[in-house]
Symmetry: C2
Subunit: 422 residues, 2 copies
């Protein structure tokens, strides 16, 4: 038996767990933010925490300036008896954050208050070449200024910034391991960005940010376990387990696009063979279009235009164009079935720019996905298709900033450490 030296008991030693630091105070705070406006007695009953503890923690949060009491006006026609009821709400103006999504064509920024209300947004177009961190940060600073102007908030009022990039991101370490946006690998990007933007910056994979946006503003408000599969330039995945984003032990999990669906199969841009991406991503479809339809992507310009034309050909009955989409759909079905077989989510959200091509989620694909899912009368997940744009992803980045800011603010009172960004 593999027993830890010195440990005499049994059971998981959860003391080191980050879950432990998610204290009652955080639970109560998040509940208030989630509810918008709520009474002390509702917090106590919803969270099964004693009324005395709730009162004491609420008082602490009020003193810290994070929440405040709001007198609830009587409903129209309702008789007024005694003192009007008092509810609790987040203090909107306690802190402000920004969320920024970068991609190969556009950067998008939003400004949010402490309660998560969006105050303004902006986007700027740019050229798509991969480049240096400082170039990108200059562009990011520009879009941020536009969003600040649109919101009437000063740069100095920002307490945290969330920033989403495509690629492989170590969120906890604030490191970009690899991104198609950057001409370097393995960069301490969060720290560079914090210096450049004069404010703590938290970074994450853009797929995790769309997942966080679903968690904070979308489906996650009612569903505890769900998966988000994004189809953009590549294939991404985000997973919510028990209302929290799961990132893996080293923060680089959920690489659905690079799971193998065919041993020694089609070549992927990562250099390996048989990756799901190599059958479903846009470059895979364009590769096939150049084989059988004599499309020349370099002549046709943007990869989106090539795909649009391929899609038109398929819709008008071109056989090879149709088989290209059909095969991609079958492999996507395999990928989704693997997600369901492994993660058993109650909901799978398909998201991203490529969802405009309905072949990816037509009945035939969903039927194939069901055929490849282990059956035995299991409860099947709901499948939803969301085609929200970059603004939602930027809101996810702002939610990251709010989430990290809140953990920092609520964490310090226990450990008395200073609240730093990285």
């Amino acid at each position: 038996m593999d027993n830890n030296a010195g440990a005499k008991g049994v059971g998981p030693l959860i003391a080191q767990s980050s879950e432990i630091s998610r204290t009652l105070k955080q639970q109560i705070f998040e509940h208030v933010r989630g509810a918008g406006l709520c009474a002390r007695v509702d917090i106590s009953s919803s969270l099964q925490i004693s009324p005395a503890t709730v009162t004491s923690i609420i008082n602490e949060l009020i003193q810290a300036g994070f929440i405040h009491e709001v007198t609830t006006p009587p409903r129209e026609g309702e008789p007024v008896r005694g003192r009007p009821p008092v509810s609790i709400a987040i203090r909107n103006d306690a802190f402000y954050v920004a969320g920024i999504k970068t991609n190969d064509k556009t950067h998008t920024a939003v400004i949010m208050d402490f309660a998560g209300n969006m105050l303004g947004s902006a986007d700027i177009a740019h050229n798509s070449a991969s480049r240096s961190a400082s170039n990108i940060l200059n562009e990011v600073n520009a879009v941020l200024q536009h969003a600040l102007n649109a919101s009437g908030i000063e740069h100095t009022q920002l307490s945290a910034i969330g920033l989403g990039l495509p690629g492989l991101i170590d969120c906890a370490a604030g490191k970009v391991i690899w991104s198609p946006m950057l001409d370097q690998q393995n960069i301490a990007f969060a720290s560079l960005a914090s210096d450049a933007l004069g404010c703590p910056v938290y970074i994450d994979n853009d797929t995790n940010l769309v997942t966080l946006a679903e968690l904070w503003f979308g489906k996650g408000r009612t569903v505890s376990d769900f998966a988000v599969v994004t189809i953009e330039h590549g294939i991404g995945m985000g997973l919510v387990v028990n209302h929290r984003i799961y990132r893996g032990a080293h923060g680089v999990g959920m690489e659905l696009g690079h799971t193998k669906v065919q041993l020694d199969g089609a070549l992927c841009r990562c250099g390996q063979r048989g990756c799901l991406e190599a059958y479903v991503a846009d470059y895979a479809l364009v590769r096939e279009a150049s084989t059988a339809l004599n499309f020349d992507p370099s002549e046709m310009g943007d990869i989106g235009l090539v795909l649009d034309r391929l899609f038109d050909e398929a819709k008008s009955g071109h056989e090879a164009a149709t088989t290209i989409f059909k095969r991609a759909g079958r492999y996507l079905a395999t990928g989704l079935a693997n997600v369901i077989n492994l993660f058993d989510p109650s909901l799978v959200i398909l998201s991203g720019a490529r969802m405009q091509y309905d072949f990816l989620y037509e009945d035939e694909v969903l039927h194939e996905m069901e055929r490849q899912t282990l059956d035995w009368q299991r409860t099947r997940p709901d499948i939803e298709v969301h085609t929200w744009g970059d603004l939602l992803w930027a809101q996810g980045a702002a939610a990251l900033a709010l989430s990290e800011l809140t953990e920092t603010l609520l964490g310090v009172s226990y450990t008395n450490q200073s609240a730093g960004a990285n």
Copy 2:
């Protein structure tokens, strides 16, 4: 934007979360069980909970009879000054549980005290035909009696029983959706077992139980996120996320054996094509042996004997026998790489009866697994091979019983509901 009607705030509404019911009391109790013996001050500093709250909860747990104070004797040669220090420990004799693992040849049972110490065990052999629930429960009752006799504990002293079965189990509903052990599908087995054994019974997939055993008694005491991949008659997987077993939204996730590694590939016993199991499980190897080596499994009897002979042939250089194992190893590498690409665990434990065949984890397989894992300088998980037997799996079943019993005991004081099994 998909906003929930009536919800005015933002952020995840985590009130419904089962995480919330994991209160400070449970955290403190689990910490004491994990530590074996610990001081109040250590609990406070490890869990970052105020000393006053720790003292108040510890007093409550002492009054309930779950834990007690233990005077720590001075170490040899240490001078005795003032009062000897007082530690906290679980009261071993507060409750007793049993854990039982059933499989196609043997049932194994263990008896444990409330602190998780094993008091005795037993196993019985039986015939391997799939059969009725009542037949199995008679056999389970017999092995349980043997284990009780070996432990000096009466049946009436048992507070909970954990029971592991192979197959697709809905742990939360106590339902066997499908099991090779049973001649019926979709049975409320936990409830039948509770009636037959006169004690609340909790059931789970046997792979989850070996994962729980790793979590309570093995590697899980030091690692927060890990995966267990078992190779027995089929391929199973268990996942620990932040020191907790992840079962999926409907409790039927982690079906790694039925993820597809080849579209339209080899036929699986589940009836679908291209499942990982169809390339790696024992029946897949036997199928190939009967093709190229003219093995006749019906003549050779036990499937284990067929595999042993195939293994001997491969070791002595038989080319077809070697390719059978080599191909299985390559597909296993694909399955493990997919696990790493998706879950990013810090540790992968390979476990189960088939790990006696070293081709499954030889250097070549692990190298192939690394080749198929998305690289970019990521931190790679450790790989360990554990060949523990049925006794460990039964201990996992006892850990399930202890875990459910503890949640029931600690849960009731908040909600004042009666503590029922199902």
